[in-house]
Amino acid sequence: MPIKYRWLALLAGSLGFYWFISDNSIIAFSILIGMSFISWLLCLLMSKKEKGRKPIFVILLLIIALPLLAFKEFQYISTTFFHKSTPLWWIAPIGFSFYTMQLIAYVSDVFQKKTEPEKNYLKFLLFVSFFPQIIQGPIPRYKQLGQQLVEGHKFDEKRFVKGFMMILWGFFLKLCIADKAGIAVNTIFDNFPTYQGFYILVGGILYSFQLYADFLACTSFAQGFSGLVGIDIIDNFARPYFAVSVKDFWRRWHISLSSWLKDYIYIPLGGNRKGTFRKFLNILVTFVVSGIWHGGGIKFIFWGTLHGLYQIFGELLNPVKKALKKALHIKDDSQPLRIFQSIWTFYLVMIAWIIFRADNLKIGLSMIKSMFTVGNIWIFTDDSLFSLGLEWKEVIVLLLCLALLFTVGILKEKGIAIRENILKMHIALRWSIYIGVILFIVIFGTYGFGFDAQAFIYGRF
């Protein structure tokens, strides 16, 4: 196919993929086409006007955002306050949260004249439906991705192999870490209060890694498959569990969402330009929006608020932390201090993840309470941990895989480009690595018969 028209193949593939993953749902497909078309059309209209742009922008924002809000919250409100379940068809189409954010960003950028509107609807539809990222992001900006998708790319072996490596990495993360950890996580979280005390701590830690590996896997797949066709997709994570504060965590976790929230919520609200109180309020509002985006109900709002409060208290305690460091003669760049801060940040984030994963807020709070009130420390020495669905050999594999994830994280923190280094190796060694990884996943991965395959966690949001 001529390079010029290759984007048409990508479009056909993306629409076909969406049709397939949404179980041939005409409704889901129509919503995607309809919302993208309205956004495209009104943005074109808006760009041609100098006056009266704002009403179009507001109407467009409402058209895009209200369905998301309705899908997210209506079910919770209906069941909680009216004790009525929503109809079966009331399910957000797959990837809805992600492409809604994408459309809002596009509309806002066009309104603010940061980006030129796309004139060809089909090209715009490709941007919205691009298959590697529609399920779980990252949430792209038109400026970064739009042109790449349509410009056409020659086959580049190096990029292809790098994409292939990312796909392998994605499989490793998903099958050897996320889904393996998920077995124990489900046992603990689905059977509370059978499992209490230190089990909750173990469950919380494992869930933190499960969620990270799962989400990172999806991003890796997106980057990998895009890489095969010569397209670069932004990184969505930057070793979030190495963060030294919650603020730092949000710079590293789900970067495309965090930057979206910053650009389209926090800064428009005034950011840090209107005094400390407004800054804290803006932080809270931003994280509440983040909570609402993640799901319906009070649980996610609480989770978002908790992260907002973490940041506010983090800043309020800055003078205390400074005084303590001075009193204890600890330098700002001290390695032990960084390790302590990372562990403490991980702990805070993990506590919030427990709320995030629990069936509801009440259960989540009870689980956290039991962590501090039930002293069953013997579970670490009497093999109880091996009764969570993972026998000891599986636990060792999981720990080894986590150790590898940690090592890769350290190398990347040091700026070492692992894939580039592998590409420089002798072909025999390179192939041994690829095949070794494939065999490792085939043998030690968690998948197949007798195992209820886990859907990508973030695909639900």
Binding site: W431, L439, I443
Partner: protein, 502 residues
């Protein structure tokens, strides 16, 4: 262009290597059931592929009843007829059909004997699925079938009838057996040695008696009083296919049922089908036939005949095959090896059934056995000269008659490699046998830091063989089956010197 070609070659080479290695891992993960277990489908099907082409005149197909009832070795020894038993546990009629089709690629049998038990529900109380058998039973038969368009067809049909079974997993076994890496054993690593050993032409041997069992037979004269029990759904289609295949290949199909307390209703439905299709039907539950072969529920067991019962049934089948279906004898050297296997299995069964210690010790003089003797404390009050001599005849030098109370004894004879320990102090010894592949340990720890049961402990190849009974413990390790086959305690502190199996 040259660069593109180079890239394409690299891509294809890499894909081929990766696929080959994934398939090798798949083979590694496939569960194996060899001659050393009660059921040995891996040997049954792998041995079948090793037969000389067109060397089999009779094929048996059916359930576990058929596996334990039709012994090709007996038929060959008595009538010179070459046969093979392709039955498997809970063999669905679908599996019988596909294995018949598979077998016909390699053999041209003159007679196919089909166990009709598979045509009705396996149990009265539980329906597995529309295939009429557990998922594991399908896998045991199908996993050992060679890759071919026939296998693809079979996998698709299995998946269609039982959607919980994934057709692809019959080819990419890791989908089904992804957790097997946690319990890979010797047979997984030394697969070829186990395959080369071979089984008994698909026959699986069972021992034991049931003194309380009563004979249950049916009388054809009562048939008019009952309604025929309908066959299971898939029998309609696949039995019909089997009949067609046999017709097309000029094969005589025979239906049978082995003694299993069959109901008249079931008998009637098979008999009617057989009569309608002009198929001979031999039902060993039928009173006349049951008595004609001298079958006894207490001596030969119902459902799964012991080897003595199998000899009676097989001998009868050999007779009718020879007399009524004119199957002529032939010479087949492969039966020499299977005869050895059969006799070895029979010896093991006899050993495990022996209650007389003197006879037992005589039977231990077998080069295939490694013997472990453990006498931890009090054992020689009634240890007589004959017994002591028989123990010494096994290669041990210690004279246990002279030991004082409180002296512990451990002895091991691994094909002439002898180790003996005689001490009145606590000890913990370990060692290896079977050329370093097996491991044993033996401990006497009276410190009470361990549970009372483990005061005297013995582990052989991972099997706990210790106990606290007074007297002498003997553990027999069969190097053919690579497992502990018998653990007995002889109470030599009483005059009876009774044997307790533990």
């Amino acid at each position: 262009m040259k660069k593109r070609l180079k890239t394409a070659v690299k891509f294809i080479t890499f894909t081929l290597i990766a696929c080959m290695l994934v398939l090798a891992v798949n083979e590694w993960m496939r569960p194996k059931f060899y001659f050393d277990g009660i059921w040995s489908p891996t040997n049954t099907y792998k041995d079948f592929y090793k037969l000389d082409k067109n060397s089999v005149d009779v094929l048996f197909l059916g359930s576990s009843h058929a596996i334990t009832a039709f012994n090709p070795q007996v038929i060959y020894d008595n009538y010179g007829i070459t046969s093979y038993n392709l039955s498997s546990e809970q063999q669905s009629i679908l599996i019988s059909y596909y294995w018949l089709e598979e077998a016909l690629k390699y053999q041209s049998p003159k007679v196919v004997v089909l166990d009709a038990f598979t045509l009705h529900k396996y149990t009265e109380v539980y329906v597995y699925n529309d295939l009429n058998c557990a998922e594991g039973a399908i896998r045991k038969a199908m996993d050992n079938m060679r890759f071919s368009p026939l296998k693809i067809r079979a996998a698709k049909e299995i998946s269609k009838i039982d959607p919980t079974q994934d057709a692809l997993s019959f080819f990419l076994l890791n989908i089904r057996y992804h957790s097997r890496w946690t319990n890979l054993s010797e047979s997984d690593y030394y697969d070829s040695a186990f395959v080369n050993h071979g089984g008994i032409k698909g026959y699986n041997i069972i021992g034991g008696f049931d003194p309380g069992a009563e004979d249950v037979t049916l009388n054809v004269s009562d048939l008019s009083e009952v309604e025929a029990e309908p066959m299971i759904g898939i029998a309609d289609e696949y039995l019909e296919r089997i009949v067609e295949v046999c017709k097309e290949n000029n094969i005589q199909l025979i239906l049978t049922n082995t003694p299993y307390a069959e109901s008249l209703q079931r008998y009637k439905s098979v008999a009617e089908y057989a009569a309608d299709h002009d198929i001979p039907y031999y039902d060993f539950n039928e009173e006349t036939l049951y008595n004609e072969i001298g079958y006894s529920a207490s001596e030969n067991l119902l459902y799964h005949p012991n080897y003595l019962g199998a000899e009676k049934i097989s001998d009868y089948m050999g007779k009718i095959l020879s007399e009524e279906y004119a199957i002529t004898p032939r010479i087949d050297d492969s039966f020499v090896k299977t005869k050895e296997n059969y006799e070895h299995k029979v010896n093991n069964l006899k050993l495990k059934e022996t209650e007389d210690i003197y006879e037992y010790l005589d039977m231990l003089k077998n080069d295939d056995y490694s013997i472990f003797v453990f006498a931890p404390c009090d054992y020689n009050e009634f240890l007589d000269d004959e017994m002591a001599a028989k123990i010494q005849a096994l290669g041990f030098t210690a004279d246990l008659r002279n030991a004082e109370v409180g002296t512990h004894y451990f002895g091991m004879n691994d094909k002439g490699n002898i180790r003996e320990e005689f001490t009145d102090e606590d000890f913990a010894i370990t060692g290896s046998f079977r050329n370093g592949r097996g491991k044993y340990s033996c401990t006497v720890d009276t410190s009470l830091m361990v549970s009372a049961f483990h005061t005297y402990s013995m582990q052989i190849d991972g099997v706990d063989c210790g106990n606290n009974f007074p007297g002498i413990n003997i553990v027999v390790y069969d190097n053919e089956e690579k497992s502990v086959i018998d653990k007995v305690n002889v109470n030599t502190t009483t005059e009876e010197k009774s044997i307790i199996r533990y």
